[in-house]
């Protein structure tokens, strides 16, 4: 656990740098995570993925399976990795403020 200052607000992160409280999510948080995960400049495509993940999570309470993410956003897995170098789970889900993926990873 650690506390970071993002635009003057204290935000709590777990060891892997995921948001502890999803309510803390904001566009400033995304910008902060973007530098952490070496995303670079946030483009329209990045936001498309981020908003898709957030909408899906709000609707179903889980992160979408990767096949579903690719199908619904129209991006290939390769394109997702080009946008989010650490991948859909550690990269995109973190930026979208989703809880940390669990299971046999």
């Amino acid at each position: 656990m650690s506390n970071v200052q993002i635009k003057g607000a204290a935000v709590e992160l777990d060891e892997d740098g995921f948001l502890v409280d999803p309510a803390n999510w904001s566009e400033d948080v995304v910008a902060f995570f973007a530098t952490q995960e070496e995303v670079g400049e946030l483009t329209e495509n990045h936001w498309k993925v981020i908003h898709y993940l957030r909408d899906y999570f709000q609707k179903f309470g889980v992160a979408p399976m990767i096949r579903k993410l690719c199908k619904d956003t129209g991006f290939t897995l390769k394109e997702i990795y080009e946008m989010f170098p650490s991948g859909p789970a550690k990269g995109a889900c973190k930026l979208a403020g989703l809880p940390k993926p669990t299971g046999c990873v």
Binding site: V62, G87, P101
Partner: protein, 397 residues
């Protein structure tokens, strides 16, 4: 370094078996995280409880797997295992190394990690046990520089593994080492970037002895076999019998299908080829006299997995005989068809064996373009609840 007391673990340095405690102590002498690992383990032994936190998502850029994140739940007490991540490093086929390469990997791990290894993880990877988040990327860079890549983790194709095969086994029907090397290179993307409902493992055993335990521990098992008759060197058989080998009780009577016969008059071993199920017993018992056949390939088994969720499964026959020769195009096509169908229909965390059970073998066979065969079942179904397709049923007045 302050010596921590480990009375319970010290007990495990007694006895004849090589002690893992001795190994950890040796690493602890020059590495603080190995020392804290020992201390945390002693506490676990005292309290009969694990002190690793749930989960952990770390990795290297470009990959979605290969590193298993782990954090101590008592970081104040054991600060040097606060972060203790595992690297899965793809092993060379058949676990053949040179001392030089092992020295290079050990030097890298001394620099970036705890110095502790697991040779090997049960899937086959060379496991580097315990490093910090900060060290992950530089350690990975050093490993790739040295010629090693990460293995698989998560919902991906996992590191492939095999028996030693033709490298040093006369029973090998297929080149298991070449097969997994070729497939590992071909499926790099599937290994490094999880894209499936759950994990998918391929293991290759070059004969039905299944020294890679492929049938139990891989979703798709490739088991070498032959389809002509096994070869018999009658002189060598006679030599064994003359040397006092009890061929009747140790071979003939043990044949599961009674395919073998010992003609004591002619002093000749006979086999009914069509009855032989290639169980390997006679070949194992008389390796100098009996040999695998000439027309070689593999049997593919599908579905092997551990209990979670629907119960453990041993892989069952998917393809009774397939040729396994480079570049293994037919096999790769089948793998792609299987994983495509599974990725389309599988639920989150559903292994391919469970999906087949849920959707039915006939739906699966149709999707991957295989005909149903008697070899696929142990016995025909015992109930009459049979589905027919609409077009298979004529109209009844």
């Amino acid at each position: 370094m302050d010596e921590k007391k480990t009375p319970l673990l010290d007990e495990l340095e007694k006895g004849d078996w090589p002690s893992f405690v001795t190994e950890i102590k040796r690493a602890a002498a020059k590495n603080a995280s190995a020392a804290d690992l020992l201390a945390q383990l002693e506490t676990s032994y005292e309290n009969k409880e694990g002190y690793w936190k749930h989960g952990g998502i770390v990795g290297v850029k470009g990959y979605g797997g290969g590193v298993v994140g782990r954090y101590s739940s008592q970081p104040e007490k054991f600060p040097h295992v606060r972060e203790f991540h595992t690297f899965r490093v793809n092993q060379p086929a058949g676990f053949f190394y040179t001392a030089e390469k092992l020295r290079q990997v050990a030097a890298i791990w001394d620099q970036y990690g705890s110095g502790l290894f697991n040779l090997h993880g049960s899937t086959g990877d060379c496991i580097l046990l315990g490093t910090t988040t900060e060290n992950l990327q530089p350690c990975y860079d050093a490993l790739t520089e040295c010629g090693f890549d990460l293995g698989g983790s998560g919902s991906a194709m996992r590191t492939l593994s095999c028996c030693v095969g033709q490298a040093r086994c006369e029973k090998a029907c297929i080149d298991s080492m070449n097969i997994i090397r070729e497939l590992t290179l071909h499926y790099q993307d599937a290994i490094h970037r999880p894209a499936w409902p759950y994990k998918f493992k391929i293991k290759v055993s070059a004969c039905p002895n299944d020294c890679a335990a492929a049938s139990a521990r891989s979703d798709l098992a490739v088991i070498g076999t032959w389809r002509d008759v096994l070869e018999m060197d009658q002189d060598a058989v006679r030599e064994a019998v003359d040397g006092g080998f009890d061929i009747f009780n140790r071979v003939i009577r043990k044949c599961p299908t009674e395919a073998l016969e010992w003609d004591s008059g002619k002093r000749e071993l006979k086999i009914t080829a069509e009855d032989c199920v290639h169980c390997m017993h006679c070949i194992n018992m008389m390796p100098k006299a009996l040999h695998i056949g000439r027309e070689r390939g593999a049997t593919l088994l599908i579905g092997g997995k551990a209990p979670v969720v629907k119960g453990a499964m041993i892989g069952w026959v998917l393809v009774p005989f397939i040729k396994m020769e480079p570049p293994y195009t037919e096999f790769k096509d089948l793998v792609d068809k299987i994983t495509d169908w599974w990725a389309d229909h599988g639920k989150n965390r559903e292994r391919v064996g469970e999906l087949i059970e849920r959707m039915g073998l006939s739906a699966f066979l149709e999707a991957v373009g295989l005909e149903p065969l008697p070899q696929m079942v142990h016995a025909p179904r015992s109930n009459p609840y049979i589905f027919w397709k609409a077009e298979e049923v004529g109209s009844h007045g």
